[in-house]
């Protein structure tokens, strides 16, 4: 048990939005002033995974669950090597950490990785503001005397649209991933022997995906975002994986170009989130920005093949336009809340993708079967 220390000794801080609204609270985490696009995440558990998910690069994340920091941070729950988002907004930072796996506090992790935090503000009011008015740029600042400066800084901060952030978070060198899923105490699960070799593009890949691939019998070679299609095909992988990642899919033209070639190669290909959007663009579809995105762990998605509903983990601000897919791909999954595209597959090629996160982390494991589908495609390909 480690103690996060009292929260009442925290310095004042403010959150300023581009629409001019300012919320006063207490600062924690890194002492730096940070700007970014503010999004709300409705997951109740899993703040450590959210914080370390590279897809949040350039964003300030607001957690709607009010008590955050309760379980501290631990080595197993990192989704990448570090925290990536610019800021972390919570209603109530926990004064105490209590969990048997915990080895540190949320505050210290944020300090270490330069993430600014603000606590003690009305997160619900801000969430409603974003829902009604759409996403905004925002600033967390400890210079509480000059709110106007913070607002103007938020207004001058570049929008996510048109920004290639994948490059910033991608691995500079390729590497092999060998670790399977986290095993609960007493679990008798073992990772199966390796049967396939998958090349995974790292646009900001979450470790949860890599762990699931290993758990499904894959040896994984992770390659940088800008790796060319030829370089990948030269490895002769059994399958190609396109990862999640931050920013605007339309801005990663190099990736779209590579995927266009890879999709036609006949090698089974699976994309998640940004990978799904890149595939959409590669197949000739369009993407667009959602009003306030989907960030949470409770979104219902229907698999149109089975008509069964899965509760999914989601984190995206852009989506593939369903009309643009006409004749290019088959809609396979749909979001039941707003009918947006959640998954698609190519009619003839072994290519499919989902907008949401079957690897969960955080969130429900309802959609892990998709990794099985990927394996099946590779099996079929091998039999041919």
């Amino acid at each position: 048990m480690s103690d996060a220390g009292p929260t009442n000794g925290l310095p004042p801080a403010l959150l300023a939005l581009e629409d001019g609204s300012v919320y006063h609270g207490l600062g924690y985490g890194a002492a730096a002033d940070m700007a970014g696009e503010i999004v709300f995440n409705t997951a109740i558990t899993g703040y450590q995974e959210v914080l370390t998910d590279p897809s949040y690069r350039g964003q300030i994340v607001l957690m709607t669950a009010p008590e955050i920091g309760n379980v501290g941070v631990n080595p197993q729950d990192f989704e990448s090597s570090r925290a990536w988002c610019a800021g972390f907004v919570v209603r109530n930072l926990s004064p105490r950490v209590s969990n048997w796996r915990s080895e540190g506090t949320l505050h210290s992790l944020m300090v270490q990785h330069g993430v600014a935090g603000i606590t003690g503000i009305d997160t619900r009011a801000i969430t409603r503001r974003l829902r009604i008015g759409g996403v905004q740029r925002a600033v967390i600042s400890r210079n509480v005397a000059d709110a106007a400066a913070a607002v103007s800084r938020a207004r001058n901060h570049p929008s996510l649209e048109g920004r290639d952030l994948a490059q910033e978070v991608s691995t500079p060198l390729s590497y092999e991933w060998t670790e399977g899923l986290w095993k609960a105490p007493g679990s008798k699960a073992v990772d199966p022997p390796v049967r396939h070799h998958v090349v995974a593009y790292d646009y900001g890949i979450k470790r949860g995906i890599l762990r699931h691939l290993r758990h499904n019998g894959c040896r994984v070679t992770v390659v940088p975002a800008k790796t060319s299609a030829n370089a990948v095909l030269a490895i002769k992988p059994d399958g190609i994986f396109l990862s999640n990642g931050p920013g605007d899919p339309a801005a990663v033209s190099y990736a779209v170009e590579a995927v266009r070639q890879l999709a036609r190669s006949g090698t089974p290909l699976f994309g998640i989130c940004l990978g799904h959007q890149i595939l959409g663009l590669a197949l000739g579809g369009k993407t667009y920005k959602l009003k306030f995105g989907h960030h949470g762990a409770n979104h219902p998605v229907m698999d149109l093949a089975t008509r069964k509903v899965e509760i999914t983990s989601q984190n995206h601000g852009f989506a593939v336009d369903v009309a643009s897919l006409q004749g290019k791909a088959v809609l396979s999954h749909v979001n039941l809340n707003d009918q947006t595209v959640e998954g698609m597959r190519h009619e003839s090629l072994p290519v499919f993708s989902v907008q949401y996160h079957p690897e969960a982390s955080p969130g429900p494991n309802d959609a892990t079967y998709l990794f099985g589908r990927f394996i099946k495609l590779m099996d079929e390909q091998q039999r041919r």
Partner: protein
């Protein structure tokens, strides 16, 4: 999948009377279920013995049978109504058990009734420990290790095996099999205790069998609420974490939603397990509750149990999230899938999702140990609480603070009356009792370290840290004193931590209103936010609100506020708060009726309540639901935000009544009978004047401020006297005192209760010297209850009820019949005339209840009590007569007249008997003798063409196994006090006629024999063995009649009553009840019991 079309009529079984562990949450679930079925066009047949439920209102189901919940009765209903399907999952354990019995008896098959919701196999797999263990093993989940033992030797072997498997020898849990109400579970902490408790357990179990189980005491406890549809879509509605770890029944635990101390990975492991469990058990559609224990040291997880039905926790989860589990479970049972059902709150997204919440919910149980002297108040594996409150706040601390002040136990924060020294506190918190939370807070205040607190309680350090923070802030407020009023920063911080104005008032040494005014001056006001299932991701169309202090400027608050008040004419209805003995479902029933009536009249209705079990806190009931504490502070904030036309306080029992004066003083308009009229009836002096003015009679009385004065009054009036505190509920600390020697003890008890009660309510005067009342006690009198509804002009008699037990037994504990069965028409007319006169004189505008006593010696009619408000009997009377008294009263409150509504008095040509149901079986060692202090938790009703048949049904419905002549030799044990001997002759003759052998104690036997009744003498307990208790234990006695008088005799016969209770034998402690029982046996054995629906009774068919 769309709605099933192969079903037309659905049978629903209710959960019967309110008992500990099964309360009004099943009225909430069942009412939702019936409504959902009707919405879909099904014909619904409902059976429930509890008349105080909304679900049994005749307009809810198509056919409503208020009949005993037995296989025999249900078979008759099925034969008569021929339902196509039975939905067994909404009526608690009662409905589930009955369903299994009906299936096993072949009834369902015989009449072609399909089970929907849960199939027999699934129910058995979930309920049978061995099958459940096997099922969990199939899916790789662990359960506590255990084994059944039929002897001490076997038990020892199991214990040794457990030690080998878990590395822990003691404690172990011992659960006797098949005990009544699951009672008798015990914890053995060492080898010596193990032997003793094991032997006791073997004796307790009717099968001589005890489950010896691995203890997971101190592990963290969680619950998940799961829903599954016919297409195998499954979702988790809510996670709940218990503040009190394993070892305390979840019903007695403080619980928090959502879970607070799990990482996502751990939560997902639990979620996956929950989904695997519901699939493996095979609950095809509907909700289930699954409990888990987690070892805080290493995260080891085991499954404790699963309930394949809606439960107390599912009601809590529904209220905590806004996801109506029972309603959706019903729709799933009739064929829909989750994605086909719309989320009620957002109106645009489907119900196939998992609610996410952006607030914290705290549930705190409420206990009633003060009602059961001698009961062991230690909390353990068997549930003992009688009610609960829930509070919503944006943080754990705020929600926790709000829950504490919702309890109405005279505490407004961490304020234990008498704080013992630290070492005593340490001992107290290690053994959990009802006050553990407050003792823990005081221990932390006294310097107990968090580590030591964790060692002693195993409460998670996260909770302990918050508790400590709250205690520190409490201390800071005390030290600051009055300066707080000019320190907006501290004031706001404390409000955001959930501290009540009342607690701050005490620390500041000012009045509650001073604190409120300071808050207003500094702009420290709460905002209201919506419960919306989705953390504001979608717009909430349903106004289900809670308050929170968010800080910021007035403009910020206006922007953040989600009240969105309308300009419609609106009225606030104050609910009844937590269930307790004396104030339960009956009052919620009245509140719901008031809401329904006012909606009919075109008003917007605003419900304020904090009891998660109830129908009133279903967001569907009122136009706007405020889930808030019922205190002056919280109610005034809502009134300021909404500006209603008026507030109705007369339906929710004592809770809102206590707020009447403080609200009125704050300028709130109260509707209905004036506060002054209430005061004239409640203030003893003014009541005396009222009685005198109308030329009526009441027992002689006096008000005492001290023991000396009490003695003088008692001497003047003459013994026996009734001693009672002023302004209390359910006869708290009321006693009949027979002589001067007993006076002091009870007078002191009454003073203490008076003082506590005056501190408890929202409007309590805080008067430390509240007086007590001493009344003349009328011996051997018939008690009569009259419910009246009046509009200032006319007064209509709702019903005249004759009690079966004589005056002196609390009216809530006494069986009563409507219409009366033995009173002369003259007496009935006379009480009606007096009731009308009282209504006119008090200018009652709404409901009034009057209790009369008529001594058998012809001394006339005495008024015992007048209550110008809704009474406990209103639902019963309304159900029997079909006249909706509470609705009529609500309409009167907004200006309608009885004439306009065409209300007339209905005297039924059938008879209904209300009988009380008691929790004694849960409290070993407590005397079951009835008295002026109410101790029943619930009630049932028997209805039939004759008094005898109705009484018989009421007994069966209350769980009494009335012995029916069956050709074998049956015996009745009769032992009555001298005053009752003459009356007992007729009863004994009746029993002889029915073929019973009479076993009687010497004196009774002698008297009966002289009167020509053949008897057999049996020893009293102190007369040597074999004595009457031995004969009871032998199973030789089927019916007990035992009346006593005087402390010695009462002590003497204690073991007789207790043994009869544990054996489930009918036992009567008054001759009048015994006479009714014998009449009922004669009637019911003469012809088969018949069933008839309320709709048929009321339409005269």
């Amino acid at each position: 999948m769309p709605r099933r079309n192969d079903i037309k009529t659905v049978l629903l079984i209710g959960s019967g009377p309110i008992v500990i562990g099964q309360a009004c949450e099943f009225d909430y679930s069942g009412t939702q279920g019936v409504k959902a079925l009707k919405e879909e066009g099904f014909r619904v047949v409902l059976v429930n013995s509890n008349p105080a439920t909304i679900m049994t209102d005749p307009e809810i189901a198509d056919r409503t049978y208020v009949e005993p919940l037995t296989v025999e009765i249900l078979t008759k209903v099925i034969e008569r109504e021929r339902p196509d399907a039975l939905l067994p999952t909404l009526g608690g354990q009662t409905a589930l058990n009955l369903t299994v019995e009906l299936a096993k008896a072949g009834v369902l098959e015989k009449f072609g009734v399909k089970l929907i919701g849960a199939q027999l196999g699934a129910i058995e797999k979930a309920e049978d420990r061995e099958l459940f263990k096997q099922a969990m093993a199939n899916i790789g989940l662990c359960v506590p290790l255990s084994g059944y033992a039929r002897s001490l030797d076997e038990a020892k072997k199991i214990q040794i095996q457990l030690q080998a498997d878990t590395g822990v020898g003691f404690p172990v849990i011992l659960r006797p099999s098949f005990t009544l109400g699951g009672s008798g579970a015990a914890i053995a902490w060492n080898a010596a205790e193990f032997d003793a408790k094991m032997l006791w357990g073997l004796q307790q179990s009717p099968r001589g069998e005890v489950l010896v189980e691995q203890s997971v005491l101190g592990w963290k406890e969680y619950e998940l609420e799961v829903m599954r549809d016919g297409k195998d879509n499954a979702v988790i509605v809510c996670s709940i974490e218990n503040f009190d770890p394993m070892g305390i029944h979840t019903g007695d635990s403080i619980t928090i939603a959502p879970a607070m101390t799990l990482t996502d990975k751990e939560y997902q492991v639990m979620r996956d397990a929950a989904l695997a469990v519901i699939r493996e058990i095979g609950v095809e559609t509907g909700g289930s509750n699954i409990q888990f224990a987690v070892n805080p040291k290493n995260g080891d997880m085991i499954v404790i149990e699963m309930n394949p039905r809606v439960s107390r926790s599912s009601a809590l989860a529904s209220k905590a999230t806004g996801f109506p589990i029972a309603k959706i479970a019903t729709k799933l049972a009739i064929g829909y899938t989750l994605d086909e059902i719309t989320n009620d709150i957002t109106k645009e997204t489907p119900a196939c999702f998992e609610p996410t919440i952006d607030y914290v919910v705290t549930k705190v149980p409420r206990f009633a140990f003060e009602k059961f002297p001698g009961a062991d108040p230690t909390l353990g594996p068997q549930m003992k609480s009688v009610g609960e409150v829930m509070a919503i706040g944006r943080t754990f601390q705020e929600s926790f603070g709000k829950a504490l002040r919702s309890l109405e136990i005279g505490r407004w924060g961490f304020d234990l009356d008498k704080v013992p020294p630290l070492d005593e506190l340490k001992r107290a918190i290690a053994v959990a009792g009802p006050d553990r939370l407050w003792q823990l807070a005081e221990a932390l205040r006294a310097g107990l370290s968090l580590d030591e607190a964790f060692t002693l309680t195993a409460i998670d350090p996260w909770f302990l840290t918050h508790l400590k923070t709250m205690v520190d802030e409490d201390d800071a407020a005390r030290i600051q004193g009055k300066a707080l009023l000019d320190d907006p920063v501290s004031l706001e911080r404390r409000k955001r931590m959930g501290m009540s104005d009342r607690r701050l008032m005490k620390h500041a040494g000012v009045t509650e209103d001073d604190v409120r005014q300071a808050r207003i001056r500094h702009g420290i006001r709460p905002v209201f936010k919506r419960v919306d299932t989705c953390a504001a991701e979608f717009d909430a169309k349903t106004p289900y609100l809670y308050s929170t202090y968010e800080g910021g400027s007035a403009a910020d608050r206006a922007a953040e506020d989600e009240v969105r008040p309308t300009n419609k004419r609106k009225i606030v209805i104050l609910g009844g708060g937590p269930n307790r003995i004396g104030q339960g479902i009956e009052f919620d029933y009245c509140c719901v009726h008031a809401v329904q009536a006012l909606r009919e009249e075109g008003f917007e209705t605003l419900m304020i309540n904090c009891n998660p079990e109830t129908v009133s806190t279903d967001y569907d009931t009122s136009d706007r639901l405020y889930f808030e504490p019922l205190t002056r502070e919280d109610v005034l904030e809502i009134i300021d935000a909404e500006k209603p036309e008026g507030v109705i306080v007369q339906f929710g029992g004592q809770t809102p009544l206590r707020l009447a004066v403080p609200l009125q003083k704050a300028g709130v308009k109260l509707l209905g009978t004036s506060a002054d009229a209430i005061d004239r009836a409640e203030d003893r002096q003014r009541f005396g004047d009222l009685v005198k003015k109308l030329n009526l009679r009441a027992p002689a009385w006096g008000t005492a401020h001290g023991l000396g004065e009490a003695r003088e009054i008692a001497e003047r009036i003459g013994y026996p006297v009734m001693v009672r505190p002023s302004y209390v509920l359910g006869g708290r600390a009321m006693e009949i005192v027979h002589d001067a020697s007993g006076l002091e003890h009870f007078v002191m008890k009454a003073f203490e209760a008076s003082r506590r009660e005056s501190l408890a309510g929202g409007g309590g005067s805080g008067d430390e010297s509240a007086p007590i009342l001493i009344d003349q006690f009328l011996r051997d009198a018939i008690e009569i209850d009259v419910d009246v509804v009046a509009d200032g002009q006319d007064a209509i008699i709702g019903g005249v009820m004759e009690h079966i037990e004589e005056a002196g037994i609390h009216s809530g504990d006494s069986a009563c019949a409507l219409p009366p069965f033995s009173l002369s028409p003259e007496i009935i007319e006379a009480v009606k005339t007096q009731a009308r006169a009282l209504a006119r004189e008090l200018d009652v505008r709404g409901l009034m209840n009057i209790q009369f006593a008529v001594p058998r010696d012809g001394r006339g009619i005495f008024i015992l009590e007048v209550n110008p408000r809704a009474s406990r009997t209103v639902p019963f009377v309304s159900k029997v007569t079909g006249v909706p008294l509470a609705k009529i009263a609500a309409k009167i409150a907004v200006g309608k007249t009885l004439k306009e509504m065409g209300v007339r008095e209905v005297v039924p040509n059938y008879v209904a008997v209300k009988e009380a149901v008691f929790p004694f079986v849960k409290f070993p060692g407590v005397d079951t003798l009835l008295g002026p202090e109410m101790r029943s938790t619930g009630e049932v009703m028997g209805i039939d063409r004759t008094f005898e048949a109705a009484f018989g049904k009421s007994q069966i419905a209350a769980g009494t196994r009335l012995p029916m002549p069956d050709g074998t030799l049956q015996s009745a044990f009769v032992s009555v006090q001298d005053g009752d001997k003459e009356a007992a002759v007729g009863v004994a003759k009746g029993l002889r006629k029915l073929g019973f052998r009479i076993l009687a104690t010497a004196g009774t036997s002698e008297y009966l024999r002289r009167a020509g009744v053949e008897t057999e003498v049996v020893n009293k307990v102190r007369e040597g063995r074999p004595h009457c208790v031995d004969r009871l234990l032998d199973g030789q006695i089927q019916l007990v009649i035992n009346t006593t008088c005087g402390a010695d005799a009462i002590q003497d016969s204690f073991s007789i009553r207790r043994t009869a209770l544990m054996r489930g034998l009918p036992y009567y402690t008054t001759v009048s009840a015994a006479r009714a029982a014998v009449g009922a046996i004669a009637k019911l054995s003469a012809g088969a019991m018949t069933v008839c629906s309320l709709q048929e009774f009321q339409s005269g068919k």
